[in-house]
Symmetry: C2
């Protein structure tokens, strides 16, 4: 047994093949991004239709990449709901920009795992650097430690878990504390309650605090709820405020909630998963006022910063609490101590992670702060214009203020009328959006946030809505 | 205000720019994959070195993509630890194959979120289909529901959370049950204990069951531990067995542990994150014998199935327990009921997910089962050959059986000698690996699993080790 010098990758596709298929895919994407409007936003498929068109078993032998790409185009694409379409207005509107897509491509190729500094210095340090950049864009002080998770659900899970550990250092060993109570607004995202449930806190111990007329959590009601729980022997430990609620993008009074958290000794987590984008604009600095004193904050660059899903930016003022909750180092993962060598695994549940920071680095650099802000500013302006148009049409009503780029409205009519309107809009292929129940009534939501969206797209969506409404 | 037909994406790079930069990156990757051996596996950088070379703030104006790519090549690449290098033998050896990279590229471009069937039928159905294919490759019955998570830590977290919910349906509401106990082997991955800690179960309630001479969990000791806990009023609820432990790739007796779980009413989760790859070979079917009766199982295609990180395949026989633990549907996420329309968010903590199944679909089709098995078989054969070489060298000893593709060994000498050997090997750039403490002694691990690895690579690594050892 002796060694000679190997070369290439005999078991994988050749460089020539990779280049050929890579070019084909790059060409397809270049065309797709330019011509996305030619696709119906939502697909006209029935549940199981794609499944039935695919083989029930994987092949035993290799299939040529041409055939796989052909199936992608003819079977998969027609069953896509095109989140990257300029008239995808459902949930929150997101974007994969060109730079973000190319960053993800490089990340897949190098395939590193930044669990420890030692396992990939580049992945860890670029993540720390771009999180520092983003911290500045959000106006947070340097004391905040930043890291990237997959989604806001996961970031908030880590925040609540750290809050629990900080409230009682022995829980890590003993587990299962009784009576811990978490507070959030009645309009908080469902992930807050789900995270609490997943962590074993119990839904009964999540208090949904009432909101004012503009759907903002009431600090007075929050204090009253905490007082009542204390009287009953409960242990309030965490409050989650929201900057940009999913239902109406309302902005909780972060500073006042922080005052309550300070007085009561609660961990304060700020969910700015969507709203952080709006808050980066100078004229919207008020939205995050007070967050600089909070314990943690989440903002999703995969929502309103043109980065492909998944990329959730999590900031925490108390990284030692994250470590208390999540650090566990077996001998096969030990590494040398160095204050500049951050070991990401110590601060999170997943051991490994891919190089997500690369796409964020690409996007922040290729756009720059001014352009990012200009695009977000235009989304907000178009949302205001749309809200004014809707308000001016006597058949419709705008049901909530639109401080960001989400417009909530309804046809003056029954819930069934509105459900039908939504269904027909989505079936039209012209635009796609989602509904909600607000104050007991079914409403429609138009979110504007895709990098490709133009004022004309917003108007085209509105024209389609009026056209469908006229025919109901 | 009136609408005209928009075209293109005025705020993003043009199709011509995307094509140009896309080609440049594809060219770089094609070269990188072919010439990875020209790079030192691990970088020669100090903590903070890359950070200091990068600006402390993001730019205000746009930077040309050429400059960003140049920085990627000159600053980022030299600080990479090349996990995709054929002589990266640390932790578990992983691969981004060409097909997997191209699948991830398309996934980033379409940027869909498969949280509900309705939000992207293609992402949900392709995931269900490929998980069905993988289920067949692993020899699991059809009753297992499959879904993709980011990492095995997350898959196992979901398993343990579902096990807890299944043990007491009221926990979802009440939270915080006392006395729940989880069992796993002393050689289980640290993620099992970390997951239990994160879920609020407490480390004290994780029992690490002893192993036999080949590092396999003892069903007898497991039963004894359960009996003792029951006597003390504890509530045993879950056991996690491992097929391919991180320290030595030992294979727990899954069928016997399942028998115990059946008798005792415990949820049985099988961690085959790495070992599932070996178990796909006909000659290794024994490794997963009994898993067809388990409650859940994790296998990571991003470990030993040539799929870029992240892609963790999670199978569960009791999806209703996942729903009990994790389903929570706010009105803005409601959708129509249809048994063929799977809503992934109902079975997990993260609301959203990107189209991870696409890269798995690309890999399974472009390789086909026979080639996948042939490559894995060669990795196992080279590991045996390497183990024999090491055993034949009087300066070294193999410290554990090598049933898969991991060889654990040490220089006959002090721990410091072995630490120095590891350090010098990694500094050499020729190969990279990681260490462990096994039975109180420091040992080295050589994992073979990269798609580009050849027999000659393994021999080159071994030659380098002998050369360093001779100079110590």
């Amino acid at each position: 047994m002796s060694a000679s010098t190997p070369s290439g990758r005999p078991n994988d596709m050749s460089p020539e093949e990779f280049r050929r298929h890579g070019y084909q895919i790059v060409d397809w994407i270049a065309g797709y991004l330019h011509d996305t409007r030619d696709y119906p936003v939502a697909p006209a498929v029935q549940p199981g239709e794609l499944t039935d068109a695919l083989p029930r078993s994987a092949p035993n032998g290799p299939e040529p990449m041409e055939r796989i790409l052909e199936d992608f185009k003819t079977l998969v694409v027609p069953a896509l709901n095109h989140w990257n379409h300029p008239r995808f207005h459902g949930y929150f509107s997101v974007s994969a920009s060109g730079a973000g897509i190319l960053g993800e491509l490089l990340s897949a190729a190098v395939n590193v795992n930044g669990m420890l500094w030692h396992t990939c210095p580049a992945a860890v340090e670029v993540e720390q650097v771009v999180m520092g950049w983003l911290r500045q864009w959000l106006g947070l002080p340097e004391v905040f430690f930043g890291m990237i998770h997959d989604t806001a659900s996961t970031s908030t899970l880590h925040a609540i878990g750290a809050a629990r550990a900080a409230s009682d250092a022995g829980l890590r060993e003993r587990g299962a504390a009784q009576g811990l109570v978490l507070y959030t607004s009645a309009h908080a995202h469902s992930s807050v309650e789900k995270d609490a449930m997943a962590l074993g806190l119990g839904r009964e111990n999540v208090r949904k605090i009432g909101v004012d007329a503009e759907y903002r959590m009431s600090p007075t009601l929050l204090e009253a709820a905490i007082a009542k729980d204390r009287q009953e022997g409960k242990r309030p430990f965490c409050v989650v405020s929201t900057v940009g609620t999913t239902s109406v993008t309302s902005v909780d009074p972060v500073a006042e909630i922080q005052d309550v958290a300070d007085r009561e000794g609660l961990w304060h987590h700020v969910d700015a998963a969507y709203g952080g984008g709006a808050a980066m604009l100078d004229e919207n600095r008020w939205m995050l006022a007070g967050a600089e004193r909070a314990d943690s904050l989440v903002f999703n660059p995969h929502k309103w910063l043109f980065v492909p899903i998944d990329c959730s930016a999590f900031f925490c003022r108390r990284p030692e609490a994250l470590k208390l909750a999540y650090s566990l180092v077996p001998p096969y993962l030990s590494s040398q101590d160095n204050p500049r060598a951050v070991n990401l695994m110590d601060y999170r549940i997943p051991l490994g992670s891919r190089f997500r920071a690369l796409k964020l680095w690409f996007v922040m650099r290729s756009f720059g702060r001014d352009k990012v802000c200009a695009v977000i500013r235009s989304h907000i302006a178009w949302a205001r214009e749309l809200a004014a148009e809707i308000a001016a049409d006597p058949r419709f009503e705008v049901v909530a203020p639109a401080p960001m780029s989400l417009v909530c409205f309804r046809l003056r009519g029954t819930d069934d009328d509105n459900r039908l309107l939504l269904e027909r809009l989505n079936e039209s292929g012209t635009a796609f959006t989602s509904g909600n129940v607000l104050d007991g009534r079914f409403v429609l939501r138009i979110a504007i946030g895709n990098i490709g969206t133009t004022r004309e797209d917003v108007l085209a969506t509105w024209e389609k809505i009026r056209e469908i409404a006229a025919g109901l």
